[in-house]
């Protein structure tokens, strides 16, 4: 950086202090630059994000509670929402626990395969969600690598809830790990050593010393997982089989409403789902803000 500023000096060897008239012009130009940047940012996010969101929310409330009730009374609607909420909650809890273990292992231990583990955790960020679903069908589906074994033992994964859960766990895996990891990095090992020297067991040390520092990060990661899982479509659509009342999730249900030309009902359910996940993301932002980066 120093070199580049140096280059600028060589190109422009005039005195650093500009004349009074051009100073005023510079201030005006800076203000203009700030205003134009601000307008571009507001226009971009306003047109691309705020306006379409408003369209759904206005349409969703447009029919009033009657439209929402009608949409929820449709066959399978209630079950679809409950299934999505239940599976998303399960996903959040499992990932909060095991994701924290993975983060702990990645930060604290040095072992063969640590780099590979770290890379594997990031794979769900890169792999298309639909491909996630296809991969699970390829692995657990009928006439696949291990699917036959599970089906022979009366345990169906694909076209059943375990498959959906696996897909949701896959998609949300990095969220908890990558939220908890930086917090663990910053923890002062001296606190834990003090607890151990004073006679606390490994588990008590973790629970009483480490966990309080991690709590908001774990909760934030869990909430993000929940918000992501409740809206997931791509990973679920192929492997769930979309059976009414059984494996039909809320996003797939909304998709079906749109295909059936019921945009009002779709908007009503969408507003409900969106309100839930947006609140969660806002809470998460609160929890993670103020945490030193």
């Amino acid at each position: 950086m120093q070199e580049q500023v140096g280059t600028l000096v060589r190109e422009d060897p005039r005195p650093a202090k500009p004349a009074a008239g051009s100073r005023a012009r510079q201030v005006a130009r800076a203000a203009m630059g700030r205003w134009s940047l601000r307008s571009v940012a507001l226009l971009y996010l306003g047109l691309m994000v705020a306006l379409p969101t408003a369209a759904v929310v206005i349409r969703g409330f447009g029919g009033g509670l009657a439209a929402l009730k009608e949409a929820l009374d449709a066959p399978g609607a209630h079950q679809a929402l409950m299934l999505s909420v239940g599976l998303a909650a399960l996903t959040a809890v499992i990932n909060a626990v095991l994701g924290t273990v993975v983060a702990y292992v990645l930060v604290r231990y040095r072992f063969v395969g640590r780099g590979v583990l770290s890379t594997l955790v990031d794979i769900p960020f890169a792999v298309p969600t639909l491909v996630t679903g296809v991969m699970l069908v390829a692995l657990y589906g009928p006439n696949s690598l291990v699917g036959g074994f599970f089906i022979d033992h009366g345990f169906q994964i694909i076209f059943a809830r375990p498959g959906i859960l696996l897909a949701l766990l896959f998609v949300t895996l990095p969220l908890v790990v990558r939220t908890v990891q930086p917090v663990l990095h910053q923890l002062d090992l001296a606190e834990e050593e003090a607890a151990r020297v004073l006679g606390a067991s490994r588990w008590v040390t973790f629970r009483k010393v480490v966990l309080p520092h991690l709590r908001s990060a774990v909760v934030a990661g869990g909430l993000l997982s929940f918000a992501r899982a409740i809206g997931e479509y791509g990973a679920v659509v192929i492997l769930s089989g979309n059976l009414l009342n059984k494996t039909l999730t809320a996003p797939v249900f909304i998709y079906q409403l749109i295909s059936d030309f019921k945009p009002d009902a779709a908007a009503a359910v969408a507003t409900l789902l969106f309100g839930l996940s947006f609140t969660l993301v806002l809470v998460t932002e609160r929890l993670t803000r103020g945490r030193p980066a």
């Binding site: 422009d12 231990y109 298309p128 639909l130 791509g234 749109i258 969106f274 980066a293």
Partner: protein
């Protein structure tokens, strides 16, 4: 540690227990991530390989498959260029410009993360579909948005908006404006300052954000399936091609295309890892 051992004799010696706990936790992490992530990757590779050479050659000879790849490429390119340029503008405003409503702008920038892709598709239907807010304006000019390529680009853009903004904003905040002010004092114009001082400082974070949005744009399906109209060879992206293959019970073709997308994403991941590493190094300078 040794005093504690004397005070409370344990069944196992302390080092042994320590090793057991370490080993156990590492095993849990490896088994969890292994079954969750690695096993499905092996599954798809096995399935696509078993599909045989004839499926591979037939898939790549299929004009609708080729068109799907090209469409995905074009949509991704448009998305990345727009979200990168305008994302940096938003990040500059969020980190430098303290105007009232900045918090709201930041919340709006995060919105796409909270919205299910299917709902993003619904938004496009409500805006550009029959009776939508903008439908009459565009149809009067003979421009087709819904069930055509423009709406696919719009929904993909919507979903990828947060990535660059979320990566670049914290870097700009950390950076401060000292170097930029120095450059300005030395007579550099705003553009010179941006390209010679600001951009080199944010490049790794920017590339990381771009890699994330590329991955997401290639893989987007939930929003696209709603708006595309699903016309093979016209409005069908690579992910929609996979969806159709499975709908028509051409599972093997689906496996082949899915594996190619997975391979592209693994290459992207390599980029993501490198950029993230560089970014972390830069931040901890």
């Amino acid at each position: 540690m040794s005093t504690q051992g004397e005070l409370r004799p344990a069944r196992l010696s302390a080092p042994t227990r320590k090793r057991l706990v370490h080993g156990g936790l590492i095993a849990v992490a490896l088994v969890y991530v292994g079954t969750l992530v690695l096993a499905p990757l092996v599954g798809i590779t096995w399935a696509a390989t078993r599909a045989g050479w004839h499926t591979w050659s037939a898939t790549f000879a299929d004009p609708t498959a080729r068109h799907a790849y090209v469409l995905t490429g074009v949509i991704t390119l448009v998305t990345v260029v727009v979200t990168a340029i305008l994302g940096v503008v938003v990040a500059l405003v969020l980190s430098r410009d303290l105007f009232p409503g900045r918090g709201l702008l930041s919340a709006v920038a995060d919105l796409p993360i909270a919205i299910s892709p299917v709902i993003v598709g619904l938004m496009a239907v409500l805006l550009f579909g029959t009776g939508g807010w903008f439908e009459s304006w565009f149809s009067a000019r003979g421009i087709r948005i819904l069930f055509a390529v423009p709406s696919i680009a719009i929904v993909t853009l919507f979903i990828c908006i947060p990535f660059v903004i979320r990566e670049v904003t914290p870097i700009l905040q950390e950076l401060g404006t000292e170097e930029e002010q120095a450059a300005k004092t030395l007579g550099a114009t705003s553009l010179q300052t941006f390209f010679r001082v600001t951009l080199p400082n944010i490049r790794w974070g920017l590339l990381y954000g771009i890699a994330l949005s590329t991955a997401r744009a290639i893989g987007e399906v939930g929003a696209v399936v709603v708006v595309s109209g699903l016309i093979a060879g016209q409005t069908e992206t690579a992910t929609l091609f996979i969806l159709r293959a499975f709908d028509q019970f051409h599972d093997e073709t689906g496996y082949v295309v899915a594996l190619t997308l997975a391979m592209v994403s693994i290459v992207l991941l390599a980029g993501i890892e490198i950029f993230k590493h560089r970014e972390e190094k830069e931040l901890s300078r």
